[in-house]
């Protein structure tokens, strides 16, 4: 499929890899509501037809937290946030930034970035995504 890269898998199925990495949503053809997982009917209007829709790769940080205490196995600190990508809300980490309140700001402009988060026992790389400052 589009975005398949040999030796790599995306962290989640709504991340499309390749030359132009981006997120893709299931969009209701009736009302335009977007979902990152599968739905039997639209939660907004109950219509049942969906199409794949690319999500803007630039956005604004609407909310964030700097997590210092997490479940075992989750590296801390990290910045978790909600990014408004041209009208579509996306959950993601803010990456490539110092994780403190002096650097992370509400309303800051960010863009999608990908990174290799690990390699499995067969040599396949998993690629994750986050949002980095535009400047």
């Amino acid at each position: 499929m589009e975005g398949d890269v040999a030796g790599q898998v995306p962290l989640v199925d709504y991340l499309v890899l390749g030359e132009d990495p981006h997120l893709v949503a299931n969009e209701c053809t009736s009302c335009g509501a977007r979902f990152f997982d599968r739905r039997n009917a639209c939660a907004a209007c109950s219509a049942t037809d969906f199409r794949k829709a690319p999500v803007a790769t630039e956005g604004e940080l609407r909310a964030y937290t700097i997590v210092s205490f997490a479940a075992p196995g989750v590296p801390v600190p990290f910045v978790a946030g909600v990014i408004d990508c041209d009208g579509t809300s996306v959950r993601g980490n803010v990456i490539n930034i110092d994780p403190d309140a002096d650097h992370v700001k509400l309303g800051m402009k960010v863009r999608l970035a990908t990174y290799v988060l690990g390699v499995d026992d067969e040599g396949t790389e998993a690629v994750g995504f986050g949002f980095e400052p535009q400047e």
Partner: protein
Amino acid sequence: MADDVWILGIHMTKFGKYPDLDTVDLAAEATMAALADGGVTMKDIGVLAAGSLMSAGLGMGQQVQKQIGQTGIPVYNVANACATGATALRTAIMAIKAGECDMGLAVGVEKLAGAGLLGGGGTPKGEKKIFEPHGRYGAVTSVDGRIGTETMPGVFAQVGMEYLHDNDYGKAPFELFARISEKNHSHSTLNPLAAYQKKMTLEQIMGDVMIAYPNTRPMCSANCDGAAAAVLVSGERLKTLSAEQRRRAVKVAASVLSTDPWEPACQILPDVNTLTRNAARQAYETAGVSPEDLDLVELHDCFATAELVHYDNLMLCEPGGAVDFFESGATWRDGSMPVNVSGGLESKGHPIAATGIANVWEICHHLRGEAGDRQIPDAKVGLAHVIGLGSACGIHVLERSAA
């Protein structure tokens, strides 16, 4: 069909640590005390609704019956996240309203002392690591910490930060939210049933262990053990009871449960706002009161960041005005709209399924004039609010008896 429903008896255990008691013991203690408070016995009760979120499959209602009286009445075991207690209360209220019986019981209990962080999970340990897609998002490994956070302190931190973003708050968020926590910890010193009754300075709160910025540990709800129970009665049946029972009875002026309607961002960050506003609107209309009529409010401060947004959601302030409202001092116990005079979930504690009845107990305590040192003078009307992620919101508006 019953026109009105009253709280005849109600009780909460002290919240804290009970290493030697199990959930059934705690639920039975609260239930027996609520029956005694109402001057009735299990023989009077026609329906029982029970909640215990962490052991939702164990049939808490039947276990309570076995502990204190098996009379064969219908039991509804309910689970609705942090709104479980309010849901149990409302289930008993609905049965009475429907005319199925004229007296009912609701109980909520939880053992959470030492539970630690709720929500979230790390990478599962496997024999061999192979990246294969799993679950609804086709994730090849754990996403917690990689795509945002699933921990409750982090989720609710974002809820508060989003409010500041949407209302163009320009100052440092940390101190603002810490000051809300300072208020609730100060209030808790007057509540002997609170898990923690320790006054904390702003410096202590801000200097404590950071969990998820801007929430430090004392800004998070306290995991603890506890139970609360209430006896509900129809207005008709209440008329047949003693003058003392009628005097102490508290009217349920509104009982509302809502879930979140579709909002574009609700799949990304739980929308705790819309369903609370909807429930509040309905509650005020049903009760025939406006926010200004409230003498006190117990709202769901599962984190300091959550309390702020609910000032606005419950329409205690102008839309968008929650920061100014808090900074005016209104929500301190000597302010114009005392909020969480019990100490709130941050210090009283949050044994999940007990919370939605314990909040109502706090309001009833003031309306009956029995709140001792922390009594809000001449309290006539109060509101209790809980929210459980998923989401469910329960609101009860309570009125002092005129008798």
